[in-house]
Symmetry: C2
Subunit: 209 residues, 2 copies
């Protein structure tokens, strides 16, 4: 497709670099902006550049934060000996929204992915190891996605942490049948794990509020 | 959902104002930009603001163009007495890519849509009328979408143009069964139109190249 204007060609090509957005959608979005007040484009443009240039990360847990130390890490009522390791800020938000976790986090900023050329040094793993070595950590909860990259990262972290002079407990979030999910539609591996990792019934009813 | 940073809140809220993009997708896109070189965000931000602020429209046909008069309107080999009326630049690009049309265009910049508060004065209809009155136009082809808004705009234009002292022919693009489409899956209205507007077989085989 040939566009009748260089400015149009540029905006379409830049928007279409975003994941999941093709040239057609990019053109639709550009034409949409054209019909909106110029302020909307100004705000969007400004928000993108401000975010990318000025975003800061918590010095302790590496989560996105406007302050040097994020609200969670600086909250004295949280359990600072319990660290939940997650991929990115979305996982922190998801776990926080459950209201069931009172520990702190460590945000890796991605997963080890040999196919995408992402190795351990691209993630904030050294910072996590330092944290475990220097503060008295009781437990590390590995809460990564149940994907190949997630498993690779889990194993890497497990071996790395096991080799340290300090020995925090290392746990991982439970895999099983989702609440409200029907058994017959669950895949075999999930179902097998949920049987192998069964828990006392009394414990389970206590968790239903 | 509460975001741990003001900059993150802003970028998500601005991206999510785009049509068809929700807050989840907006967050995913923002985090994607964070993993890319800062130049990508700079280019995107710049392309948006340049496009919105500096985009120009052809003085004749109102299509997006970098020059005062677009390439099509300034091409002496095109038939300037034949005007195809379309909604936006995407339609011009689609018709141009067929290679079957040698006339010129008039880009309305939208459709009349009472529900969205878009009236005739929001579109470049006055400019079209002026063009028809002042240049010797032989034929106007209405090539708008077959939607309620498209039909409304078709009728409005038809009445407006019919009332002029000059009388160009007014035609509309053929509605019918798409090439390669199976008859049984076509809707009744389209099928009925394609029977009512049947054409001589010999004319049809000449169009197959």
């Amino acid at each position: 497709m040939e566009y009748p204007s260089k400015l149009l060609t540029e905006i379409v090509s830049e928007i279409a670099k975003l994941p999941g957005i093709g040239k057609r959608t990019a053109l639709r979005l550009a034409l949409y902006l054209l019909k909106q007040p110029v302020e909307q484009s100004e705000n969007l443009s400004q928000a993108i550049i401000n975010f990318r240039k000025d975003i800061k990360f918590c010095e302790v847990c590496n989560n996105i934060s406007d302050k040097p130390v994020c609200d969670i890490c600086s909250d004295p009522s949280r359990q600072h000996q319990l660290i939940c390791v997650v991929e990115d800020v979305r996982d922190v938000m998801a776990i926080e929204s459950t209201g069931e976790y009172r520990g702190v986090y460590h945000v890796l900023g991605g997963l080890i992915s040999p196919l995408d050329g992402i190795g351990p040094s691209d993630l904030s793993i050294d910072k996590l190891i330092e944290r475990i070595e220097n503060r008295k950590i009781d437990e590390i909860v590995l809460a990564l996605s149940a994907t190949v990259d997630g498993d690779t990262t889990n194993f890497y972290l497990y071996r790395k942490i096991s080799g340290l002079p300090v020995h925090p407990e290392i746990s991982t979030i439970a895999r099983g049948i989702g609440v409200g999910e029907e058994l017959e539609y669950a895949d075999e591996i999930t179902l097998a794990r949920s049987i192998l990792n069964r828990i006392p019934f009394e414990k389970s009813i206590k968790q239903d509020k």
